[in-house]
Structures are given as C-alpha cells and as structure tokens.
C-alpha cells in the first residue's frame, strides 16, 4: 500500500442555514486517491460481495442528504447519543457525543436507485453556516464505521476492540479536518482575531499586519478593551434561555469567497493542509515579498515566520485569566473554582532570536495544565519549575495556556437566596464581599450581578442595594455594584441587596419541542389525568410545587450545554480585575533573556475576568459535581 499523507481532504462544503451550498470545493487529486483505494479494497474483499463506492455527491445531493439527516435527527448536529428514536444506521445509533461533530450522510444519487454513505464528515457550525469537510480515510476504516453504526446490539461499550475511539485514534485526518473547519469558519465569519496584547500605554497592540506596517501602538482595529472577555463569556450563561435553534442564527454577512479561495489554494493546494494560518496567507497575498526581504544569514526561517521584524524592539507579555466559579454557600457542596489563563506574547525582535523564560511558583498557583505554542521548547518539566525556550513568531500569539485549580480567595464571595412566597412573587437576598484580601495593584474594573429569569417575565421589583444601582429587563434583574471608570483599588467592599420580585402570572409558552428519548406526549398523557389528584393530596411547599410545574415545560438542552440552565435559579457575576492574576501566575520581566543578546524592554500586563461565575440560589436546587480529592 502506498503511504499517503496522514491528512487530506476530499471535499469541502459550506452550507447556509437555509440549506443552500454557499461554497464547495473538491480536491481531484485526493479523490483520485480515494478511487484507487476503493478499487484496491473492492478487489481485496471481492469475495465478500460488498463494495465501497468511489463516489462523491454533487452539491444538491449533499444538501438533500444533509436536510434529511436534520429532519431525522432533530437538528443538524443530531442527537449525539442513542435515544429511543434513533434509527439503526444513523450516527446517534453509534451512541457517542462526538457524532455531533463527525457525522455521516446517506447520499441518494439523483435519478438513480444508488445510495451510498459518506463518512467521516466533519461538521462545524459557525455563525449561520455549516462547514462540512470530508477527509480521506482508507476504505477499511470507512467500513469499520459503517459496521459500528449498523450494529444490532444495545450499544457499544468503552473497552471494545473496534470502537469509534480506536478509529479516531488512527485517523489524524479527522483532527486535521476539524482544524481546517475551524479555520474556515473563522474566515467566513470574519472572526480571525489575533490574541490580545494590552499594554499600559495603548489599549491594544495590533497583529501581524500591523507589525508589518510598523504601526505598533496605533491599533489598526477599533477594538474595545475587554472585547476578548466579552467573547469568552458568551459561551455559557449568555446562552441562558436560548434553545439552540439552527435557524435562529441566520443573520450573517455573505461569505468572502475570494478570501476563502485564496486561503484554500495557498494552504492546501491539493487538499493536504500545509499551513492553516489565515493571517500568513492574507499577508502574503497582500504584500508578497520584495527583494529586500532577506532571510537570516545563518539560521533558517521557520515556516510560521515568513517575515522578519524590523524597527523598534521590545517584548510584551500579557496574562489573561478567566475565573469560573460555582458558589453554593452550602455545607454539603464545596464551592468549585477554576481559573483558565493564557500568556499572550508579542516579540518585536529583529532576526530569529531565542527567548528564554523561566516560570516558577507553579505549584503555589496550583497550576494544573500547561500547554504551549508550538514554537516553544520545554526544556525542564518539573512540577514547580519550567523553563521555556522559544523563538517567537511575528505578531501576537498565545505563548502558553494553563489552568489552575483555585487561587486564593475568590474576588467575589457571598450568597444569593431566593424564596418564592407565592407563585408569582419571590423574596431575595444578596450578601456579597468584593475583593476581600486583594491589595493594590489589584483593581476591580467593574462588577455586575444579574439574576436571569428566562422563563418568567419580571413585573416589578422592590428593594435597595447597599451600593450600586439596579435595573430591570423583561427577563432579568441587573445589579451594577462597581461600574467601569469608577473601579475600586486596594479596598474591599461589602454589598447587600434584600428585595422582592414580582412576576407576571405564568403562561405556558412552549418552544418547538426537541425530540428526545422520551417523547413528552407519552409522559403528559399520564400526568394529565392524574393532575387533579396530584394537587389534591399535595403536601409539598409552594416552591417545590412551582418547581414541578415549571419543569413540565422545560425543554431539553443541547449536549453542548453543561446542564439545563433554565431549571435553576442563580445569579451570575461578571467582573474584571486588572493589575494582577488570581492564580498567582506571573512572569518576572527581568528574568526574560534573549539570545543573541539584544536590548529590548520587556513589559507585562495582567488581567482577570469572570467566565461562568455563578452564585446558586442557596434555597433552591443546583447542579454540582464531585471534585476528587487526590491530585
């Protein structure tokens, strides 16, 4: 068997939310390889009387297969796990959540009886587009999957010999295709952003393009401070109350086909990806190379550094942290706090110097996971000490990412209690302690607490906080404790907010019901006839009763959500702290050394912001997880 590239792509489609092909590209060279592989395989297994079809669907065929899948599996992604209504031969039959991302399609040939399956298709949803990528796999691997999704038993277990896991382990092309899909997704939605590097003198430093034009310090993009914070926090709690509906995200700009074509033909001229950095491709397309772009005299230029820096030299580091917390204020459930951080870097250094950066105090910061940019060579890999040696690329890049279990005291502590006194009225109490134990230079930029009620309409509220202002929207209450511009530095404050809240009386509003393992009709049929009996001999309190009623209308969430947000009462805290990190992670600018030695100032900035920072209603139900003791 000729050895072929580990990652090639047979075809790529971009579908709009209305199921039109917005873009498609096939790679004949890879397709040729697939045809040959099929012929070989069919020859090999001729006696079995079963052959792999060396076919690729046309755009309309793909679209109809895709919408058929959508119809059958309830959404573009599908169920992901095997439910009562999963059918044999479908992805959800395989019973693995990753089948929401790596799908199969059953293609019916136009006008013919022929039907064939296509696998693996990497599905990535971005904006209002579906990006579908078909990497090249060997026909045996394809057959293995086909076997998996038509198995007649009750579903696979983990330790099996021929499982989806072992397929994925042996298929780097899927990994590659997912990377391509994500890059393409960023390109078509225009989300290609460089990592932030903020320094004290200017809000943000531009990316690769800026460094070429030499406009350092004058941000090319009008980017508000903290944009990345906002972006990172959109994932979870802001999605509260929205049921992921495929159609709802349909407002988006048209695809920049030109950019996409250029990217594809430069980064994977034959379907085999070589460089997935869109910034490189677009800069090279815009600038090209002139005879003045000379390579370094002795060293070879890395592939990810097509241009060398010229001009003023300096190094900037920025540590960005996001803190996620689930605060319970209960004896039986410990609070869980975790910090995700990254060190962004920008090295405006001439030539190809190596930078060495010792990291210490990792243990103190309970640093759990550290991973690096690929330019980094990790020489020492101790528990507490790590020394990084890297040859920095041009522009902003994420030098390393880390995760710390929990830092010192969380910046916002306290509790939130909400108790329903009647079906439409509740009394609540906040008691919060902000920035306790945080001295200067820590400074809290802003802090807002919001109480979402996605399934109730707020009629009114009553009560005054000890500090800050309160505003009301249809489905939430917002309490601004610290407002931007009037941040607090070096002191801690205590804030309380007792009050009552009234809702409009409950009307049942149902969204489109997502098909789930148990159809709600089956259940409701039962509950209806017994409803009167329930209320009659009900000895539960109001809250439980209300809870139960509300839960009957709950929709199931997508597998991408951590839990059904709507089932809980909670308050979400958002804040930003500048001047330090919560994990204790830091870089000493003095210890940064550059070889060959050159003089460049090193600057460092730090900021931390909240991700999912949730105060669960102490009096209600709350989701939790067991934190293992041993680490």
């Amino acid at each position: 068997m000729p050895s072929s590239s580990p990652c090639s792509i047979r075809a790529l489609w971009i579908l709009s939310s209305q199921d039109n092909v917005a873009f498609s590209r096939r790679f004949p060279v890879v397709e040729k390889r697939w045809r040959l592989a099929c012929a070989r395989e069919n020859e090999r297994s001729e006696s079995v009387g079963y052959s792999v079809l060396p076919l690729l669907p046309t755009d309309p065929e793909l679209v109809s297969a895709f919408s058929e899948r959508k119809r059958r599996e309830g959404s573009a992604q599908g169920f992901g796990i095997r439910l009562a209504q999963s059918t044999q031969g479908s992805d959800s039959w395989v019973d693995d959540p990753i089948t929401r991302h790596i799908i199969s399609l059953s293609i019916k040939r136009e006008g013919g009886e022929e039907e064939f399956m296509l696998w693996p298709l990497v599905l990535h949803t971005k904006g209002s587009y579906y990006i579908i990528i078909l990497p090249f796999v060997e026909p045996q691997q394809f057959k293995a999957y086909e076997k998996l999704c038509t198995r007649s038993d009750c579903g696979g277990s983990v330790g099996e010999e021929y499982s989806l896991s072992s397929l994925l382990y042996n298929l780097p092309c899927i990994t590659g295709a997912i990377m391509v899909a994500h890059t393409v997704g960023d390109i078509i939605t225009g989300d290609v952003v460089d990592p932030d590097v903020v320094i004290s003198s200017s809000p943000s430093v531009g990316g690769l393009l800026d460094s070429l034009t030499g406009s350092i310090g004058i941000s090319a993009r009008a980017k508000p401070v903290g944009a990345s914070v906002a972006a990172s926090s959109t994932s979870g709690a802001s999605a509260v109350g929205t049921i992921a509906m495929d159609a709802s995200k349909s407002t988006s700009r048209p695809i920049d086909k030109d950019a996409l074509l250029t990217f594809l033909s430069s980064s994977m001229p034959f379907g085999t990806p070589l460089d997935l950095d869109f910034a490189h491709v677009s800069v090279i397309k815009a600038h090209g190379f002139s005879s003045s772009d000379l390579p370094p005299a002795e060293l070879k230029q890395p592939a990810w550094k097509p241009y060398l820096h010229k001009g003023k030299q300096r190094m900037l580091f920025m540590i960005l942290e996001t803190i996620n917390a689930a605060m319970y204020d209960r004896d039986e459930i410990p609070d869980s706090i975790s910090i995700t951080g990254q060190v962004n870097c920008r090295a405006d250094l001439e030539g190809l110097p190596d930078v060495s950066l010792p990291l210490s105090g990792l243990k103190n910061a309970s640093m759990e996971i550290v991973s690096f940019h690929h330019c980094v060579q990790v020489s020492e890999h101790g528990d507490d000490k790590q020394a990084l040696m890297f040859s920095p690329p041009l522009g902003n890049f994420v030098l390393m990412r880390y995760q710390a279990l929990c830092g010192p005291d969380p910046p916002v502590k306290g509790f939130y209690q909400l108790s329903m006194v009647s079906e439409d009225e509740g009394a609540f109490l906040f008691k919060l302690q902000l920035m306790e134990g945080y001295r200067a230079p820590f400074s809290m930029d802003f802090c807002t607490v919001s109480m979402p009620f996605p399934r109730r309409r707020v009629l009114s509220f009553d009560g005054n906080p000890s500090t800050g202002t309160v505003s009301m929207t249809e489905h939430s209450l917002e309490w601004k404790i610290v407002t931007s511009g009037r941040g607090i530095t070096g002191k801690s404050i205590e804030a309380t907010f007792p009050g009552t809240i009234k809702f409009f009386s409950r009307t049942i509003q149902r969204g489109p019901s997502l098909p789930r393992s148990v159809s709600r009709n089956m259940v409701e049929e039962d509950t209806h006839s017994d409803a009167e009996q329930d209320t009659a001999n009900n000895t539960l309190n109001i809250e439980d009763n209300l809870m139960e009623k509300m839960n009957k209308d709950l929709e199931s969430v997508d597998l991408e959500e951590p839990f059904c947000w709507q089932a809980y009462n909670y308050a979400k805290v958002s804040f930003k702290i500048i001047g330090g990190t919560l994990s204790g992670m830091s870089i000493d600018p003095k210890s940064v050394s550059i070889y060959p030695a050159l003089k460049a100032p090193v600057e460092l900035s730090m900021q931390a912001s909240s991700g999912e920072y949730i105060l669960w209603n102490t009096l209600g139900k709350c989701p939790s997880a067991v934190s293992p003791k041993v680490y």
Binding site: P2, S4, P28, V29, K32, P60, D95, P97, I98, H101, D153, C154, G155, S157, V158, G159, E160, L164, S165, S166, L167, Y169, I178, M179, P269, F270, K285, G288, F289, S291, K300, A303, W304, A326, T340, E368, F372, H373, H374, Q377, V378, M400, Q403, S517, V518, D526, S529, D530, L554, L559, E560, E561, P562, F563, C564, A567, P623, S624, A625, P628
Partner: protein
C-alpha cells in the same frame, strides 16, 4: 466539424464573452448534469486556457476558471483523454511561467498575479495526477516530463528573492506528483537535498517535505537502496528532466537485496537533517513530515533500529503543545513505535490526553477527541495501570458541556470495568475494590444528578441512562462470537450490576417520572442479543423488589410502563404483578370519589391493558387463576361500565379460547382494521381458518394432490377448541390445562395446575350447603349411578371410541408429475395408465386430547381419473366403481375431552417407481358434533324399555346439572371400579329464530337419534307423521315439564351475565315463545368420555328456545356455534 455545426447559434469566435463565462461557471458550479450538458460540445479546455492567459480577462474570474479546469479534467465522465488535455495545459503553464518570470523586467510581480501563477501550476499538476494512472507507461511518462521539467526549473532558482512563494508552490506540486507516481523524482534526490539545505526562507519547509517524500519513495522501492551509487548523487542534471529508468521498470527484480553502506549513510544524513528542528514547521506540515519519517524509519527498522527512538526524542515534546494536530502527531509516533514510548513516556501521554479533555479553552470537539484518543489507543485505553490512576482527572466538572460529561463518564465506566475484571476479582481486596467501583459510579452520576428531578425528556436524563448502560455493558462488551452465556454470569456477579439493580429500584420508587425511562433502558437491553438476559434480570429484580414497595393510589399509574414490560416477559412469574393490580383495583374501587369518572376509566383501561398483555405473552395455564380472579372482580365491582364490559370480554376469552389462538386473536385486534364489533359473542372468537394456514404451511407438498377428506362435512367450521380441567379431583394425574389446538409447548408443573384448578372451582361455583336427600333425589342418584357405571373409565380400560369416516384419494396428473417416470400420459379412459400408491400408511396425531389414534393402512390406491376429480362419492357406496380410486379410512378417536380439534395427518406410501412418498396432508378438523353419541344402555335394560330409560336418565341428568346441586357432592363410580365422576352442571339458553318447519327438519336430520322425548300434541303430531324420530317417549302435556323450570334461564357462568334477556311469562311481546309453544323436544347427547349435553327445545312457530344443560361447561362455547350453524344455514 460536427461540434461546430451544433454550435452554429453560438458566436463562432473561439472565446466566450465574460457573461457567458459567468453563466458557464455557474452552471458547472451547480453540479447539475442537465445544466452542464449544453456546454460540453464546446472545446472547453482550449477556451478556458485562452481566456486565462489573456491579460485583459476579468481577474476575479481567473481563480474560478482554474477551479473549472480542475473539475473538468478530473470529472470521470467529461474529461478528455490525457493526451489531448495535458499538452495544451502544460504549454500554457510554460508560457505563463516564461512571461511572469522574475528574471523579466519586473523583478517582483504583483502578489496577486504570483498567486494566480502558483495556482495554475497546481491546476496543471492536479489534472495530470487525476488523468494519468500509476504505474505510468512510457508514453504517459512522456506527457508528464515537460510538466516536471517546468516545475523543477521554478524550484531550482537559487536565490531567496521575491518568488519564494512560487518556489514553495512548485515544491508542493512536485511532491504531489511524486506521491502519485512514486520514484518519479528519484534521480533528482541529490539536487533536492542540496536545494533543501540551501533554502533559508520560510519556504524551506516545502523543500524539506519534497526531499522527505522523494527519499521515502526511494526507501520503500525495493532495490533502489542497494545500488552501489549514492541515491543522493547529482550526476544526472536536474533539467532537462526525463523519467528515471527505475520508474518505468518493474521493481520486483532485486527485492531482497540489502541496502548498500553508502546509501544507509546517506539516508541517515538526510534523516538527521529532516528532524533537526521540528518547531520550524507548521503543525500541518509537521504531521506530513512525521508521517513520512515514520514510514522511512519503519522500512529501515532492521538497519537503523534507533529510528523510532530518535523520532520520539525529537517529536514527543509536541504533546505539550495546545495544538491538537501536534498532539495527534505524537500519537502517530506512539502507535508506530510503541516500544520507544514505554513507561514514563506512555504515562505522560495518557496524563496529557486526560488533561487536554479538561482544557476549557479547547473547542469541545477536541476535548472529546482527546478522550477518544485515550480510550482508543490500543495500549493506553486497555491497561488498568495507565487509566486507573487518572480516574480523578475524568471527573466531570460542573461547567463541562454535557457531551463532555458523557464522554468522561465513559472513561470512568472503562476504569470501573477494568477494576471488575476476572483478574482483579481474583486478587481479592474485595471491600476496597467494591468501594472504589461504587464510588466511581456514584461520583460520576452526581454531575448529572439533575436527571432525577428534571423531566424525563431532559438531556441530563439521556446522558445518565447512557452512562448506566456504559457501566453495565463495560463489564462484558459485545463480542462477535456467541459464547455469551458464561460471560453473563460474570456480569450478574459484578459489582456494577448489583449496584445498578438496587439503584434502579430506588430510582423508580423515588422518582416516578423516570419509570418510563427505566422501561426504555431495559428495552434496550432486551432487544440486544448479548444482554437480553441482563434486561430480564433487571425486570425480575424490579418485580421482586419494587412491586411490594409500591403504594396504592393514583400514583401507581406512573409505574405502568414497568408493569407492561413485566407482563410482556414470560420469564417473570405474573403472580406478583397480578396481585398488585388486584390490590390497586380494589383500592380504586373502594376509594374513588364522585368526580373521578375519567380517571377511573383510564386507570381501569390501563389495568386491562396489562391483562391483555399477559394474555398475549403468557401461557394461559400460568395466569389463569390470578387473572381470572382479577377480571372477575373488575367485571363485578369496578365502578366504570366500559371497563367492566371489557373485563368481561377478556374473562370470556381467557376461559374459552386456548392459549395460542388467544394470542392470535389479540394480535388481530391490534391491526388497525381490527375485528368489527358484533352483538354476537361468537364473532369475538373468530379466528383464521386453520385450513388456510395449513395450506400455507404445506404449499407445494403432497397435500396439494393427495387428499384425505371427511365423508360428512362439519357443520361448524370449527377452528378452535377448549380444554378445561376436569371437575373431579381424580383426574388430576392427567395433565389438564387449557391448551390450544396446536399449542404443544406447554408443560406446566402439576402443582401449579392443581392449585389453579381448585381455585378456579372456587371462583366459578358457589358451594351450597349439603341437603338432606329426599326420595326424589335418591331416585335420581340411582339412575345416575346406573348410567355412570356403564361408562368406561378410559384410564383403566379402552375408552369410548369415535369414528370419523374419511376418504383418501389423489389426483393423477400432479402425482405423476412428481413421482411418475414422466413417460406415461394420462388417459382417463384407461385405468392402466393411472398411477398408483402402494402400502400407504396414514398416521394421525393431534394436540387435542383424542388419545392415541391408530394409523390406517391402504394397501393399494389408484389415482383419480381427471373427470372424476370433483365428484363426491357417498360413504355407503364404497364398493362401487370408484372404489379403486378412493379408499375409505376411519379415524378412531378416544376423546379425553369432548372438544373440537385438528388432527394432523402424515402419509407414507410407495410410488410405482419404488420411491417413498411421505409428507403431511391437510389436517382433518374434528367438530363438536363428532363427539355426539347416544348414551350407552346398561345390559339389563330390554329393548322396549330403552325410551323410558333414556327419559329417566335425561331427567336425572337435567336435575343433576341444574342449580339445585343436590347431586353436587355425589360421586358416581365409573365402569372399571377405580374412578368416579362428579357432576358439576351448567346451564344456558339459546333463542333460535327459525321457523317451525326448518327447525323440525334440522332436528330430524341431525339430532334425531338423540331425541329422548317429544312433548306437546301439535309437535308430537307433526313429528310422528314424519316418522323419522322413533322409539321415543311421546308426551302430551307441555306445561308440567316447563313450569318448574323457570329459573333455568340463569346463564351458564355465575359471574358473567349473558346478554340475552329473557323474561318468561312476562308481556307477550317480550317472550314470543312462552304461550305459543307447540311442543318440546327433549334431547340427550352423550359426550365421551363421560359428559352429557341436554337440550330442551321449546318449539314455537317462528322461534325456539333451547335450554341447555351440561356437566361439561366448556362445551357450551361450541354448542352455541353449533346450534347457530345448524339452524341458520
């Protein structure tokens, strides 16, 4: 020429306008063959190339044009042959390269133009690769050579100038060609090596990859390395290019030769150069490179054994990158050289993958992938040593997406399973291990424990139950072989299973909303071949532990999904469930409030649903007792009318229809068309004719042309039968149960049957206090004793026999087709030409209780001439001319029960050719009327006393079968002296709306011999005149007999009111019979082995009331039908 003609309407110019191009690209882009078809006659490639090379052509279309060419040349249908398409393409490429060469006046062309040029190179290569097939022959190679040469020229520009991107593109093109046609560039390796070393710009990566690919192909090609000259020699100039000799020759020549020293050294040098700085490549390119290096190192393993280890040293650091591709590269190396990664490295990889799944910044899909890699790796995922210590890292976090939680729980399940293997069990430390497994299980579920109170359709619930399944199945995963049995025991013993069992019971108890989900969960197991018994076991557990704990009340409805599954499963004794339902029904009946009408109906209907399920899935004998008790209670006491009615129907079905048929009936009812409701109860029991099904079963068999037929056709096309336990206790030794005609699979234990029988009696009959016997009774007893002493006890002596006369015949023509020698033709005139069967033996068997049926033998039988095929030969004429074509056969039965049934017939005979004919014939149906016999007469009765004896016997039996039960406690010894019978009478009535004439005609035709007495002048006169009924007691007084029998109208089952209302002596319009009675027939029928059927027909002008009594009540079911068929057809 033709093309041009067809294009007459198009502008004759060789180029298309911009607009036309746009339409064309659009059409081809749509993928619809119809839209493309109109363009195909054009010389599309030439047009496209021309347009592309034109400077004034719209630049935004040029990239699309390239894509178009690419698609066009690779399309399997419309692509021109390579010899037509490649030369113009390559020419165009060369001219483009020449004009835009950097050596021209403009040293740095616009980047966009350069990009386009690079794309054109790719297009040309793509076209070449997809249109030429490896291995190439000389002519194809010649087509390729100019292309390679042009590309090499671009690659070979020794400066670092502005065209670096083009050089990279050319390298990629060459690499693609090399991959498609291995060793194409073998001779250029030395030059490429030099170029790769020299290149210092960022495109060095492309040179590196090109070099690596060429070297790999050289290494993989047998024989090349063994040549004494260096593979990196630069003796052959780079350009002009010609395909190397080794490329065209067959490589098989010197396959096994060792690589030469010099080349091994060269390869090592190249390898050292290639893996020098892995960080300098982009992640995707690193993956390419590692893949190439892996195959080189793999091929040279013998000669460079350290290759894997060196690769590991260079690349394993990539696992600490946050880039998923780089992590996968390490896995590629790991799976290629697992030995190089032993010990610490392996643990590092496992740890890193586990951590990667926790990295919140990674997109979800990569976190899932990391877990898959870990579990899918043949070494990491299996070894307990590598995974178990990582268990804490797999604990899901609160904010992990549910998909990730699900996958992490999979990993925990995997660890739990690995702790529960046989080896681990043997090792001991039982407590610690148990605690650990249970802890993993429960800790894991906490993160989705909202499933307990969220609605059952929530995603949390789905994930939770999926996890339960994974934990359970993890202990014994599915295997291809079917040796599951001992494995299952292993699973049942597992800690997970026992934990899960009790967990499910508690879940169901505490969260009734989950019951349905638990049901679906169990279904999933039940449907699986490998785990079916696990599901059954769980159901049993629920049956044992959940049912007793359930509280009565309306909440119980939530548990019906589980009840249904228990009811469906015949591995679970139904008693527990039926008792629970009984209590449930009782509690509803007692407690129901005034406004609970709808709820009552729904509850009752659901309970009946379960009953129906039981009827369908269990053998009647098993459920008979408790179910009949439950149904009886419902139809007596339940507050809802419809439920009562339905319960009555079910009860009647349970009592009257044998098991298998009952299941069929119930299945029929499930079809949408269903059985249409009919006021007549008989229609409830209509089942498909067994003849029909027999036909299907035997289609094509001997039964299609050999026929055994009843001489006297049955009046009722009986298709079902009923066997009821004997009412006297001595008969218990005989297996007695309700059995279907072909329901042979039942072998119930004697104990349960006895139990069932006794209780059944208690339900059906109300015990009366013992009476003092008066003279009348004593007389009756005397008559009965005498009668019963004449009845043989079939257990000890030969029983009463019943003969069913039949005829055997076969059709000549089809018979000869099958058995003849084929030469004979049939002439119905000549008997000699007819085929014959010799030494025919017919054997009978029946699942009905007919005792042993002796086989019949027919020594010789001639085939039927064609013309006679449909003639009916009367029985008596068995010696007429047709006798050699038909043989009369008597089937002798010794019925143990008077019941209709089917007799299966098999035939064995010799054909003229000596072949043995054997097969099944169509079954013979036995009707209830076949059982009709005259009662035997004691030897001391004179002939003229016979009518009187019958008359007395009738009255004695009539009395005994009546409601008074004066004889109920008596037993009557049977002939043979060992057994005794008791009489348990049942009564029924039937109103026949037929006219006098027809009634009398039918009685005379079919029942004449059983008539004991005719009462009433008008009737006596008519009947006497006909002269068919003779030797009976003629009586003139009708009133005397009828009057004391008013309460005879009680239906035959105490608990089931028959729907026929009859008020004797009331208003005339209600009882047309009473005053208009012409007379009465008294009919006594003996049913073997020892039962009786008594009719008292009160004959009127237009209708007749039949009072029926019997001491074998199951036969009432058939009698109803029999009477109808008798008088209405």
């Amino acid at each position: 020429m033709e093309k041009q003609q067809s294009m007459a309407k198009q502008p004759p110019s060789p180029s298309l306008s911009l607009q036309e191009w746009e339409t064309l690209l659009d059409d081809f882009g749509s993928g619809s063959p119809a839209r493309c078809a109109r363009w195909l006659p054009l010389p599309l490639l030439d047009l496209a190339l021309n347009a592309f090379l034109r400077r004034d052509f719209a630049s935004h279309l040029k990239p699309l044009l390239l894509l178009f060419i690419d698609d066009l040349l690779s399309s399997p249908t419309s692509a021109p042959s390579p010899s037509d398409s490649l030369p113009p393409l390559i020419d165009a490429l060369r001219s483009l390269l020449l004009t835009s060469s950097p050596s021209a006046s403009d040293p740095s062309p616009a980047p966009a133009a350069a990009l386009l040029r690079d794309q054109f190179m790719a297009t040309a290569v793509s076209a070449a690769v997809s249109s030429l097939d490896a291995p190439l022959d000389a002519s194809s190679a010649a087509l390729l050579e100019p292309l390679v040469e042009a590309l090499l020229t671009v690659t070979n520009r020794p400066n670092h100038g502005p065209d670096r991107q083009s050089r990279a593109a050319a390298c990629e093109c060459l690499r693609e060609l090399e991959s498609a046609f291995p060793c194409l560039l073998a001779d250029a390796a030395g030059h490429l090596w030099a170029l790769a070393q020299a290149e210092r710009t960022h495109v060095a990566q492309s040179y590196l990859l090109l070099l690596a690919t060429v070297v790999r192909d050289i290494v993989l090609r047998p024989g090349l390395l063994s040549s004494p000259t260096s593979i990196l020699s630069t003796s052959v100039p780079l350009v002009p290019f010609s395909a190397p000799s080794c490329f065209l020759s067959h490589p098989s020549a010197d396959r096994d030769r060792e690589p030469s020293e010099v080349n091994l050294r060269e390869i090592k040098r190249v390898l050292g150069f290639l893996w020098e700085r892995p960080q300098a490549l982009t992640p995707a390119a690193t993956m390419e490179l590692v893949s190439i290096l892996t195959s080189i190192a793999g091929a040279l393993e013998q000669h460079v054994p350290t290759g894997g280890a060196l690769l590991k040293v260079q690349f394993s650091g990539l696992i600490y990158s946050y880039h998923p591709i780089l992590c996968h590269i390490v896995l590629m190396l790991y799976s290629g050289f697992p030995d190089a990664f032993a010990g610490e490295d392996e643990r590092n990889i496992a740890r890193r993958l586990a951590l990667m799944a926790r990295e919140a910044h990674q997109p979800l899909v990569f976190r899932l992938l990391a877990l898959h890699w870990l579990l899918g790796s043949p070494r990491l995922g299996k070894g307990k040593d590598s995974l178990a210590p990582l268990a804490p890292r797999f604990y899901p976090g609160v904010f992990d997406p549910l998909a990730l939680k699900a996958k992490k729980l999979d990993a925990l399940a995997c660890i739990a399973a690995s702790l529960d293997t046989l080896e681990m069990r043997r090792k001991g430390e039982e407590d610690g291990r148990r605690a650990l497994i249970v802890k993993l299980f429960q800790d894991g579920l906490v993160c989705i424990s909202a499933y307990k109170w969220l609605p059952p359709w929530s995603t949390e619930t789905s994930v939770a139950f999926r996890t339960l399944h994974k934990f359970l199945v993890g202990v014994i995963p599915h295997r291809d072989d079917c040796s599951e049995e001992p494995q299952l025991v292993f699973l049942m013993d597992s800690i997970i299973f026992s934990t899960l069992q009790s967990m499910l019971v508690n879940l169901a108890l505490e969260h009734h909303g989950l019951v349905l989900v638990i049901g679906i969960f169990i279904d999933q197991l039940l449907k699986c071949k490998g785990h079916q018994s696990v599901g059954e076991r769980l159901l049993q557990k629920l049956d044992e532990h959940l049912l007793p704990k359930l509280e009565m009340g309306y909440r119980l409805t939530s548990y019906f999904p589980i009840f249904e599954r228990i009811a469906e499963n015949d591995t679970i004794p139904p008693h527990g469930l039926l008792e629970l339902l009984m209590r449930h029904i009782v509690s509803i009946t007692v407690k129901h409030g005034p406004n609970s009408g709808l709820s009552l109906w729904s509850q009752g209907t659901k309970v009946l649903g379960i009953c129906r399920m039981m009827l369908k899935h269990h053998h009647s004998s098993r459920i008979f007792l408790p179910l009949s008790r439950l149904l009886a209670f419902i139809c007596q006491c339940y507050p809802d009318l419809e439920v009562r009615d339905n319960a009555r129907i079910y009860l009647r079905m349970l009592v009257c229809i044998p098991g298998k048929k009952l299941r069929q009936v119930l299945n029929l009812g499930e079809e949408p068309s269903g059985v249409s409701p009919s006021p007549h109860p008989g229609s409830l029991f209509q089942v498909p004719s067994p003849r029909h099904s027999e036909n299907i079963k035997n289609s094509g068999g001997v039964s299609s042309y050999i026929h055994l037929e009843r001489v006297v056709p049955l009046i009722v096309k009986q298709s079902w039968s009923l066997v009821i336990p004997k009412s006297n206790m001595e008969d218990n030794m005989e297996a007695s149960n309700v059995v279907g005609i072909s329901d042979i699979s039942i072998s119930p234990s004697a104990e349960s049957d006895k139990d069932g029988e006794m209780n059944f009696e208690q339900i059906s009959y109300i015990k009366e206090p013992l009476r003092v016997m008066d003279a009348n009774v004593a007389e009756i007893l005397g008559v009965l004793r005498k009668h019963f002493s004449c009845i043989p006890d079939y257990r000890h002596m030969s029983a009463i026999k019943i003969r069913i006369p039949c005829t055997l015949r076969f059709e000549s023509e089809p018979f000869s087709h099958v058995w003849g020698d084929g030469s004979s033709t049939f002439d119905s005139e000549e008997g000699e030409a007819l085929p014959a069967m010799y030494a025919t033996t017919i054997t009978f068997s029946s699942t009905a209780k007919y005792g042993k049926i002796p086989p019949c033998r027919v020594p010789f039988l001639l085939g039927e001439p064609l013309r006679n095929r449909y003639d009916i030969i009367p029985v008596g004429n068995s010696f007429d001319e047709g006798s050699s074509h038909r043989a009369s056969v008597n089937i002798e039965l010794e019925p143990r029960e008077p019941m209709p049934g089917l007799i299966d017939v098999t035939i064995k005979a010799n054909a003229e050719t000596g072949e043995v004919i054997s097969g099944r014939l169509q079954s013979i149906a036995i009707g209830i009327e076949d059982m009709f016999l005259k009662a035997s007469i004691p030897p001391d009765i004179e002939e003229d006393e016979v009518p009187g004896y019958y008359y007395d016997l009738f009255h004695a039996l009539w009395e005994a079968c009546g409601n008074s039960a004066s004889t109920g406690r008596e037993t009557f010894p049977l002939s043979g002296g060992k057994g005794a019978a008791a009489i348990h009478g049942t009564r029924s009535v039937k109103l026949l709306e037929v006219f006098l004439d027809s009634l009398i005609k039918n009685v005379e035709k079919h029942l004449a011999s059983y008539v004991v007495s005719v009462i009433g002048d008008p009737l006596v006169n008519i009947v006497r005149n006909n002269g068919i009924i003779r030797d009976v007691v003629w009586e003139n007084d009708t009133e005397a007999f009828v009057a004391h029998d008013v309460n005879a109208l009680v239906p035959y089952s105490e608990n089931v009111p028959l729907q026929l209302p009859y008020f004797e002596g009331d208003a005339e319009n209600l009882s047309p019979v009473s005053k208009r009675t012409i007379g009465t027939f008294i009919i006594l029928i003996f049913l073997p082995p020892r039962f009786h059927l008594l009719f008292q027909m009160e004959v009127g002008h237009s209708s007749t009331l039949v009072r029926v009594r019997t001491d074998h009540w199951p036969c009432l079911a058939y009698i109803d039908e029999y009477l109808e068929s008798l008088f209405y057809t």
